[in-house]
């Protein structure tokens, strides 16, 4: 973020504070966007497979659903850490 601030200040006529908030917003968006890719793919895959399993064996649906929620919770944590980084960059 510091390097980006320097770059914005060199390339334009923004003051130091403005350059800092611009680079904060840009890097926050980048951080969250990148963090959302993997978990998005992961949760899609996970839920898709779970639906497949439930359709094949409806009697095991309860167990599959519990395990699916567990998997979602673990996968989603990555995206949420990305979101926390977003908050830290944006509001800090």
């Amino acid at each position: 973020m510091e390097a980006l601030t320097q770059l914005v200040m060199q390339a334009s006529e923004f003051s130091a504070d403005e350059a800092k908030s611009i680079s904060a917003a840009a890097s926050a968006g980048l951080a969250y966007g990148l963090a959302a890719i993997g978990p998005g793919i992961g949760i899609g895959f996970l839920v898709g497979k779970s639906v497949e399993a439930m359709a094949r064996q409806p009697e095991a649906a309860g167990l599959v659903r519990t395990t699916m929620f567990l998997g979602i919770a673990f996968t989603e944590a990555l995206a949420l850490i990305g979101f926390v980084v977003f908050i830290l960059l944006k509001f800090a």
């Binding site: 167990l63 929620f69 567990l70 949420l80 850490i81 979101f83 926390v84």
Partner: protein, 256 residues
């Protein structure tokens, strides 16, 4: 720069003029504890020889949900003694999540670090204590080296398991609960501000003003979504606590 002026992130909590140390988070936490206690106290006062009605019905349905939906799926039959602990966790988290969508309160108490951190440290202490109680000091060996790994991998696996159990578990429990609720809260604030800014815009382009209905519709949708998220996060926290506890209980790792 963005055209929308966000309030500072703690604006809704600042009660310094009235109380120096007690704020909305504290109020919601106290209220949640009191409401939970009241519901189950009233339910336990009812005559249990007759068919349950009113608040007792509600309490019994929650107990059944925790027993069938959480404990039987993770720990199994011998874990039914954990019902009070897990149910208190569930009720407390749900009641602290819910104010995020209740007008006037408008703040999920779990969207700040304190309550999720305290709860996950409680769960952490509980499952490690359970492990020591049920397996003695061998619990740590079992924790570091799952059975059946080759000797030359032991240092690496031990390090990874140590870090993931001792540090990552409470951290991820905390962050999962807090970030979910905070994300929902910020989403609500964003759409609320957007529709307010459009409805009260002083602009020459008059067609912008009725456009405020679009973020308002989205706001209603997000509110409905937040009801779901509040329930789901309470459920996930409870079920993860149950999974960690079931890993600590004495050698029954193979049967489920």
């Amino acid at each position: 720069m963005l055209g929308l002026e966000f309030p500072p992130i703690n604006a809704i909590l600042r009660w310094k003029d009235i109380f120096p140390t007690f704020n909305k988070i504290g109020l919601i936490a106290v209220l949640a504890a009191l409401i939970g206690l009241t519901i189950f106290y009233l339910a336990s006062r009812q005559d249990n020889s007759k068919a349950p009605r009113g608040v007792r019905n509600f309490a019994e349905s929650i107990i059944e949900f925790i027993q069938n939906g959480v404990i039987m799926q993770t720990i199994g039959k011998q874990g039914l003694g954990w019902t009070p602990f897990l149910m208190s966790l569930f009720i407390f988290i749900y009641l602290t999540n819910l104010p995020g969508i209740i007008p006037i309160l408008q703040m999920p108490a779990t969207a700040r670090l304190a309550i999720p951190l305290a709860l996950s440290l409680l769960v952490w202490v509980t499952f490690i204590g359970t492990g020591i109680k049920h397996q003695g000091i061998g619990y740590f060996a079992h924790l570091l080296w799952p059975p059946g790994i080759p000797v030359f991998l032991k240092p690496l696996v031990g390090l990874i398991e140590f870090i993931s159990t001792i540090f990552v578990t409470p951290f991820s429990l905390t962050v999962r609960l807090m970030a979910n609720l905070m994300a929902g809260h910020i989403l609500l604030v964003t759409f609320g501000l957007l529709s307010e800014a459009l409805f009260f815009a002083e602009t020459s382009r008059a067609f912008l003003v009725p456009m405020g209905i679009l973020p308002l519709i989205m706001l209603i949708g997000v509110t409905a979504f937040e009801v779901l998220v509040g329930f789901l996060q309470a459920y996930i926290f409870t079920i993860l606590a149950a999974v960690y506890i079931s890993n600590s209980l004495a050698g029954h790792g193979e049967e489920h």
